[in-house]
Structure formats: C-alpha cells, structure tokens
C-alpha cells in the first residue's frame, strides 16, 4: 500500500464530503509531506509522459483543451484542471489517478497535462521531466507576489536551460518574452502565432509590458498588435524579429484557419470568444501536434470542449443568462472588455475585485485597464468585492456614463445585479480569482448546478 496516495485520496474525499471545497491543495500537501518524492515517482509511471502549460493567462483553458484532445486520441489524461497549479496540485492529481499500491491505472496510456503557476515552473519541470512545455504569454500580474515581469522571464530562462534534450518547447511566437526562450532550448521548438486581421489593434495597449527587445533592450516596433504586447514584433536596432510560426493561424470570424508546417490548411470552429481565447485554442493545437496526436483527435477534442470553470462559463439563473469570466490582470481584463464591446446592446456588469493573496493584494492594476473603451456601452455596473470602492472609483474616472452601485458583499451584489437584469437578458460577471470561487459557488447553487470540482473533469 502507498501511504502518500492513500492519504491524499482520503483527505480529498473528506474535504469534499465536508463541503469544504474542491480539495486539491490539502491532499497534495499531505502526500508531499508523507513522501516528498511522490511527484517524480508517479510521474515516471506516465507512459506518454507529461506536458506542462504555463503563462500568465489561459493556462486552465489551454490545459483543458489539450486534455480533451488527448482523450479523443484514446489517451488517458491526468490533469490538475480542477484546482491548484502548484506542485501540490500536480501531486493531488497524480495521487487521484493512482491505485492504492502507488501505480497509475492504465499507466501506458496516461499523459500528464498539468497547468503550472509561472513561478512554480522550474520546480515542476525538475520533478516531472516534461515531454513538452507550453509557454502561453507573460503579462504583468500580481506584482506584489511574482515581482517584476523581467524576473519571471529570467526564472523561465533558467528553467528552460535545465530541460532535457527530449523536451519540446511550444512557444507563442507573438510574445517576444516567450518567443525568445527558443534561444536557450536544449531540445526541439514548435512555435505558433496569429496573422494580422480585423481583430488587430492600431497600437500597443497602455498595459503592454514586453516592449523592449529581449536581446538588445531596444524598443520594439510592431507591424500589427493582436493584444497587449502580442503581435508581429521586430527590433529595429538589432534586427531580431518574431519567428515565422510553424503553426500559423488567422482569425476568420468564429473560425481559426491554420496553415500547418507541412503546408496543409485546416479550419477549426472556436468554442470561445475573443482573441485571447483563440490563442488558447492555437496553443493547444500546437501542443497536440507536437505530441503527435492525430488531427481527428484535435477536431474531436475541440468539438466536445465545454468552457472551463469561470472562463466564459454560461449559467441560466432565475431566467437570466449569466456569463462568468475570470479577469485578474490588465492584459486579461482588457481582452474580456474588448470581447464584451463586440456584443450588441447595452451591457449589464457585475464586477468583483478582491485583494486576497491569490488575487494579489495590490489592486493598482485596475488603473492599467482600459475601462474607457466601454464608454456609452454600459447600462449599469455593480462593483463588489473586498476592494469594491477602488473598483467603483476607477469606473467613475473612466466616465462610462453608466449608473454605478457599490456593494462590497458578493452575494448581495449578485442578488442586486440579477434583480436588475430583465428576464431573458444577459448579466456579465467579471470576478478576480478568489471572487470567482465565491461567486461561482453561489450562482451554481441558484442555477441548480453541481459544484465545480464535480464537473471539471475535462
């Protein structure tokens, strides 16, 4: 019998039975305490190896998409998509997939698909010896926790240099901070990117971070901007430029048109709105192809995809449509707002700003968000969360021309916003991370849905 695995399984069962939450952090911590080597030991049993997905935004969606494609290919994905993206979450997912004797069930068909916190990447990569690492993007996020964007980039460079030669890097060519990781890659590199189109922006957003050349620190020039600092970048000073992506795509309304390395062209319907979500699909496709999954599995995995927890998730509550979209940093929230601007009719918003440790205790980032783009489009907005007043103040200065209400208590705020939304109409709920947990719980109960950890198996 395997004490660490049994303890983790027991703790997970207990936590859920007591209704204390999804129960992924505590069982993982317990397993790691009993056996610090539990992750490498069980990861070694993954017959198809493991993939790590990291980046500031899109980890959960991308990992979930990739796991669905793996399942469609007849593999058995082991994923931490329901919870913690620290080492403890990986430990919990592995223990959950293992039998009582510490062997993975159907080990030869198992593929680890783990989303990993940006700062945890070096540790996780050292523990699971990944077959592939997917880097999505790097934006300013929780400066009080992660430190400077430059610091995360240097942590990633070190992690990449320590990978084995059989680890493939899957890189976003459009993000200079990510694309430049290719230079230090010990193994193969697959890049993906978007071609310019109607979705492109005229110039860099205020919140753009990686505007300096990763090689010579000169100021980058952009031939097209997709969002934040993602786009067709080049350095006028040293000549470094966006690599030509091997998986090259363009956006065509609700479809992603792909040109693959072998010259073939494919079209995929996008299950989610917005340029940022198109990138998540593109990253998952690039990773699936890098892993050698067949195209039929890519298509099937995508067609079966149901949105991840709180990521453009739609619920029917008391006759109203409620869409919940996690928004936790300027680049992400700008993308969410831009997507909302594409919706017809006046918008009804419930925004939640918390300053918990998992949100980042510094809420100054809301001033880097371009709320101004919503001017004239919002009927009313309810600001809630532990920093509801900060959020309302930001919206006030954005001169939206909307009625603003401050209600710090999340449940009261939801009740108020739902009551004001006419039946049949849509309420958009935009929470930060810890607020998402609170809000989703309440909405799911009102909608008569199961709790998130019971329905997040991808």
């Amino acid at each position: 019998m395997d004490a660490a695995v049994l303890a983790a399984k027991g703790a997970s069962l207990l936590v859920r039975r007591l209704g204390l939450g999804g129960g992924t952090a505590l069982p993982g911590l317990l397993a790691l305490r009993l056996d610090p080597q539990v992750v490498p030991r069980l990861a070694a049993c993954l017959g198809r190896g493991a993939v790590l997905v990291t980046g500031t935004n899109g980890k959960t969606t991308t990992a979930r998409l990739l796991a669905g494609m793996a399942r469609a290919a007849g593999l058995r994905p082991v994923a931490n998509s329901a919870g913690s993206n620290m080492v403890r979450g990986i430990a919990a997912a592995l223990c959950q997939a293992a039998g009582p004797y510490g062997r993975l069930r159907e080990g030869d068909r198992s593929l680890g698909v783990f989303e990993v916190d940006e700062a945890t990447l070096p540790e996780a990569a050292g523990l699971v010896a990944p077959r592939a690492v997917v880097f999505l993007n790097l934006f300013r996020d929780q400066l009080d926790r992660y430190g400077e964007v430059d610091h995360v980039a240097s942590v990633w460079r070190t992690a990449v240099s320590r990978l084995g030669p059989d680890s493939t890097l899957v890189l976003n060519a459009d993000d200079p901070a990510v694309a430049s990781l290719a230079a230090g890659a010990p193994g193969a590199v697959v890049t993906y990117g978007l071609a310019p189109g109607p979705h492109s922006l005229p110039s860099l957003e205020h919140a753009a971070d990686a505007r300096w050349c990763p090689s010579c620190a000169g100021e980058l020039a952009y031939d097209a901007v997709h969002y934040a600092h993602l786009g067709l970048w080049r350095c006028p000073e040293c000549g470094l430029s966006r690599p030509t992506p091997q998986v090259d795509a363009s956006l065509d309304g609700g479809r992603l048109l792909l040109r693959l390395a072998d010259g073939s062209q494919r079209a995929l319907p996008l299950p989610l709105e917005g340029t940022y979500a198109a990138y998540d699909v593109l990253a998952a496709v690039a990773a699936a192809l890098a892993l050698g999954l067949p195209w039929s599995a890519v298509e099937e995995g995508l067609s079966r995809f149901s949105g991840a927890f709180g990521r453009q998730e739609r619920l029917q509550v008391q006759g109203r449509q409620v869409q919940v979209v996690l928004a936790k940093n300027p680049a992400g929230l700008n993308q969410v707002l831009r997507t909302l601007c594409g919706h017809p009719g006046p918008l009804r918003l419930a925004l939640f700003l918390n300053d918990g440790l998992a949100d980042g205790r510094d809420v100054s980032w809301i001033w880097d968000v371009d709320f101004e783009m919503l001017a004239g489009r919002v009927e009313w907005a309810v600001a809630s969360g532990t920093r509801a007043e900060d959020l309302a103040l930001r919206l006030h200065y954005a001169r939206l021309g909307a009625e603003l209400t401050v209600e710090p208590r999340p449940v009261s705020a939801l009740r108020l916003a739902l009551g004001r939304t006419p039946p049949g109409q849509t309420l958009h709920v935009l929470p930060t991370y810890t607020a998402l947990l609170q809000v989703r719980e309440v909405l799911a109960r009102w909608a008569g849905r199961r709790r998130f950890w019971e329905e997040t198996a991808p």
């Binding site: 620290m86 992660y146 430059d150 205020h206 300096w212 100054s364 001033w367 900060d390 200065y397």
Partner: protein, 263 residues
C-alpha cells in the same frame, strides 16, 4: 486657466497603475474648468523647464530604471532641477522617488546616480532582504494618505530633506524611523502607489493648488463630490491597520513564492 504637466518616461516608468495619477489630475482640473495639457517625455526628448507646471515620475522595473537614470543624468536632470528650484510641482513615486535622491544602490551593489533633488539615498540590503509590501497609511499635514507600497530599497533622509509624512501603518522609507517620502520645496517623493492620487483627493488638490498658485496666484478650488474616493480611502485605511494579522498568516496561506530581487 491652463496647466501643463510633463509625464516623464511614461513607457518606462508605469508599473503600478501610475497613469491613474495623471487621469485624476486631468479630471479634477477639468471639473474646475482648468485645462491640463499632458506631454509625454521619453528618453532622448528635450525637457523645457519653463514650459511645465507639474512633473510626474512613476515606478519602474530595474532594467527601465537603469535606462532612465542614464537619461536623467545626461539630459533631463538639470532642467528638472531648475524647474523644482523655481517652485514647479514634482511628484515622484517609488522608482521615480529613488531616482530623485542622491543615489540608489541595488541588491547587487550596483550604484545608480540620482538627481540629488532630495537629500536622500536608497540602499537595497541584498537579494535575501525582506521586501516592504503592503497597504500603507501616512499622517500628512494633519490628514492621512493611503496607498500600497512594494519596494526592497531602504531610503534614508539627510538633514536637507524633510519627510512627506509619518507612517501610521506599513513601512515607509526604511521601516525604522517612521518617515515616509520626502519633500523639497514643491517636489514630493513617496513610496505610496495604488495609485496615490485617486484615493487621496486632498493631496491631488494640494498639488493642483500649488501649481495654480505659482502661475496665477492664489486660486480657490471649488469642492467636488468625492464620496467614492473617500469610501475607497477609508477601506484602504482599515486594511492597512489590519495588516499585522494578515502578515502573521501570510506564509501559511501561501504567501510570496519568489521574492523580486530589487528596489
């Protein structure tokens, strides 16, 4: 009436929602019928000291801070000093504040020469040193300023500088002597971001009034409806005072996983 503001290095020094300060100054001027013209002044650009009533510098990452320090020393430093000596209003936050002191010594011991406008210097005690992160409240002219601080550098004031205020909760300049920020004539340096001005409308109006007085003589600013700003101010103050309990549990709850190296 019209005021001009030079926003120094906006593309290099903008990490903590710094543009909120500019937005608030512009809106609060506009609400009183004053036009605030904002010029963005970057590396290599010329700075005309007589043209501007206000100057703003925000916070930056190390890489950008080095670049800015070089440009400040080579190009804009003398102009900014001349303007400040003439009574122009200067607001410098976090990294900008450090650059207006005599020098900034990084965690690795690298020394950046500052403008020396404030008789102050900043030393980072080393890569392993505790960063000063959290909500902060400061007593200022009988009132209170609230904000968020995030800096590794410890700033010490010489006899030629006086602090902006006294720390009520948080760390301030160095976490020891209870001082926060620095003032020289109408130049203000501070570690408070959040950003500073939205939640401290009295301080925003103080800066506007100083700038107006210099150009037009005493001008009374009509009061605005600041109920939202004061509600956010009170919330931040409560959170700043509650900090020790949070701090005690931070490591248990999965607090900072990696510590940024500098500032």
């Amino acid at each position: 009436m019209k005021l001009r503001l030079a926003w120094l290095y906006p593309r290099h020094m903008n990490v903590y929602g710094d543009r909120g300060n500019i937005l608030v100054l512009r809106e609060r001027c506009a609400a009183r019928g004053i036009e605030l013209e904002v010029d963005e002044v970057g590396p290599g650009d010329r700075l005309d000291p007589a043209r501007y009533d206000l100057f703003f510098l925000g916070g930056a990452q190390d890489r950008e801070q080095r670049l800015v320090a070089r440009d400040l020393a080579a190009h804009k430093g003398p102009a900014l000093r001349e303007a400040a000596e003439e009574g122009a209003v200067v607001l410098a936050v976090c990294g900008g504040y450090q650059l207006l002191g005599r020098f900034y010594r990084s965690a690795e011991g690298e020394e950046l020469t500052g403008l020396g406008l404030f008789d102050a210097w900043t030393v980072h005690p080393g890569p392993g040193a505790r960063r000063f992160i959290g909500n902060v409240a400061v007593e200022w002219q009988g009132g209170i300023l609230v904000g968020f601080e995030n800096h590794g550098g410890r700033t010490h004031l010489g006899p030629g500088a006086r602090p902006l205020g006294r720390v009520l909760a948080g760390y301030g300049n160095n976490g020891q002597d209870g001082s926060e920020g620095a003032v020289y004539k109408n130049a203000f340096g501070t570690y408070l971001h959040g950003p500073l001005l939205p939640k401290n409308p009295h301080f925003a109006d103080h800066l506007i009034a100083l700038a107006l007085a210099r150009r037009y003589g005493e001008v009374a600013l009509p009061p605005l409806d600041d109920s939202l700003a004061w509600a956010a101010h009170r919330r931040a103050l409560r959170l700043a005072r509650r900090r020790p309990i949070l701090e005690r549990w931070a490591h248990v709850l999965g607090g900072p996983r990696i510590w940024p190296r500098k500032r």
